[in-house]
Amino acid sequence: MNGIVSALRTARFARAVLVYLAVYSGIAAWLPWTRVDRATAPSWAALLGLVHPFSSPAFVAGVALLFASTLACTWGRRARALQLLRGELPESAVALSSAQGKDAAAFLRAQSFSAARGPVMRRFPWALWGGWILHVGLLVLIAAVAIQQTFHDEGSFELGVGEATVLSRPGAVFGRARGILAPQDPPDLEVALVSYDPFLHQRGYAPDRASRVRLRAGGDDGAEVQLDRADGARAGPVTVYQAIPDGLALVVDVPGLGARAIHLHGSGRRAEAEVVDPAGRPARFAVEAEHALDDPAGTGPLALALDSGGQRLALAPGAPFRFGDGEARVVALTRWAGFTYARSPGMPGIFAGFAVILLGALLLAFPAGVARLGEPGDEVAARVFGRGADVLARRWERQGANSPASR
């Protein structure tokens, strides 16, 4: 066991793991199928489990080794810091040779060292904890990411203006991604789209989507919030985000079913939706515009139609039309918008880990050091350990006898 810990603790092992992760990440980020315009992953990538390279066994193993290496390095580091603070310097401490007329204590004081007790002098002693704190932060970060990945839950949904849905309702959410211990069902959150503007102009920013949504979790009254792609809206542990997809929605009043919003998908000037009519036959609603459907200046006149049973029927708002075995009515042509929701219980841990890492890195930026003065007559005037100790030794060598200590 001790042998394993010793091996994990070596700087060579830590470097090897870091290099492995850096090279792996550098290559994986450039794999064609991980890019925005995703190509299909080749079969060999699937065979090696590299379709999703940053959740592949090779990457997870690298992170696990990094955790083990960091844990082994952290183990015992606290005791070493305490030893240093007591003035027990390691073999690698730099020696300042005694010389006639040179005062090591005065020299060290001029280098910002101050006497602690007896022959021990220290500079920024609290900063000696920097390395230990940084390693603890790295452990917290890796553990928190593991928790976050395990419990993370996200999914997409669409809403037409005036439409409401409960995310836990079957079929309400699609494209769901969840960790192995995330709740089985989507959250019990009711979301209603009150209004939607695909081209809201906010000063300084290009026109973009903005919605007013009502969020109601459990039995509370809910709250109406403004949502755009700059920021999500929270309802308990769930955050709802405005997504990019949107389109036209046809609200149709179907006898026995009530008003239904049919989301049309398409690009350019045409959008359509395949449905099954109340009689169980396939049908297609289609909208054709004069201009592009995403033209901020407007679509121009729209032509609505229903393709069913090999026949095309022109539709008009308010006018009844044959749908299945009964009559339905187009209530309105409006817009639908896409949203996502996310639950990330590990996030506070991740940010805590980052904060601890940064605190450690901040402390490391201070040139902390500990010096132990030699006895009168010793060959060594003082031994110094810490960042910049070698520089300090060269300054000591350069310094003439009784000359003012230079910084």
Binding site: V19, A29, F54, A230, D231, A361, G388, V391
Partner: protein, 270 residues
């Protein structure tokens, strides 16, 4: 007003760069002090120019090449002036920083007249921190590279360029700048994660620039391990510092230019 402030800053930086060359050519420390003072004085109109543009366009300096590079230079000069106030030995690095600042302003002015709106996802306080720390990280890494170059000059010819601090001091400055750059890069990554989480509900997307920043952070960690654990210093550390600077340049400029991502406009402008 913005034009006047911008060109006043450019003039101050140009004269400062010339004064640093004079300090090197004639070995006059006084030239260096004047040059640093000019650099500090140039920061005031420069900040005014950046602030006026910010107020006019309604978003931070992260869209056009002018906005991006001008803010890069502002941070570079501010970090240099601040560092040289804390450690006097850093002052000669102005001979490396100020010509870069002048050239950066020259590149920036090529799109001075361009004004454009940014995507709505840029409306975030975390983005300010993300971008600000990215610029400060780049500035500290450039200063570390400057100190490493100074070290190599000074250690090869100790009798020449006596205006530079002793080689071992430059070695230590390089290390300190790298440490601070490591810290700033960490803050930049954390702020970027918070921004991504605020806008998209995910803190990490393995976008090429995100990954490149992470790889750079790991590379800096490896370099710092060599220094702290193996006591590497001097020539080897100077070359490793150049490697760190190369990683920074690849992340901040090369990947941003080569790969179309959300990061393009605010890293290299358009």
């Amino acid at each position: 007003m913005e034009t006047v402030a911008f060109w006043t800053a450019v003039t101050a930086y140009a004269v400062s760069a010339a004064a640093f060359f004079g300090a090197f050519a004639f070995g006059k420390r006084r030239f260096g002090a004047v040059a640093r003072w000019l650099a500090a004085a140039g920061l005031v109109p420069h900040a005014v120019a950046v602030g006026l543009r910010w107020a006019e366009v309604g978003h931070g300096p992260y869209n056009t090449r002018y906005e991006v590079l001008s803010a890069d230079v502002l941070l570079l000069v501010a970090v240099y002036v601040g560092a040289s106030a804390v450690a006097k030995g850093v002052l000669p690095l102005g001979a490396f920083v100020m010509p870069l600042a002048f050239l950066g302003m020259g590149w920036a002015v090529s799109t001075f007249g361009l004004r454009a709106e940014v995507p709505i996802i840029f409306k975030s306080y975390w983005l300010w921190l993300h971008i600000g720390f990215a610029k400060a990280f780049a500035a500290c890494t450039l200063l570390a590279a400057g100190a490493a170059a100074g070290y190599l000059f000074r250690s090869r010819a100790p009798e020449r360029l006596r205006w530079l601090p002793p080689a071992e001091d430059l070695d230590l400055y390089g290390h300190q700048f790298l440490l601070v750059a490591f810290l700033l890069l960490g803050v930049m990554i954390a702020a970027g994660s918070l921004w991504a989480h605020q806008s998209w509900g995910r803190y990490w997307g393995w976008d090429p620039i995100e990954t490149s920043a992470l790889v750079t952070w790991i590379a800096f960690a490896i370099i710092l391990h060599f220094r702290v654990l193996h006591r590497w210093s001097g020539r080897r550390m100077a070359y490793l510092t150049f490697v760190g600077a190369a990683f920074m340049l690849v992340t901040v400029f090369v990947v941003a230019i080569a790969v179309p991502t959300i990061h393009n406009s605010y890293m290299v402008g358009r």
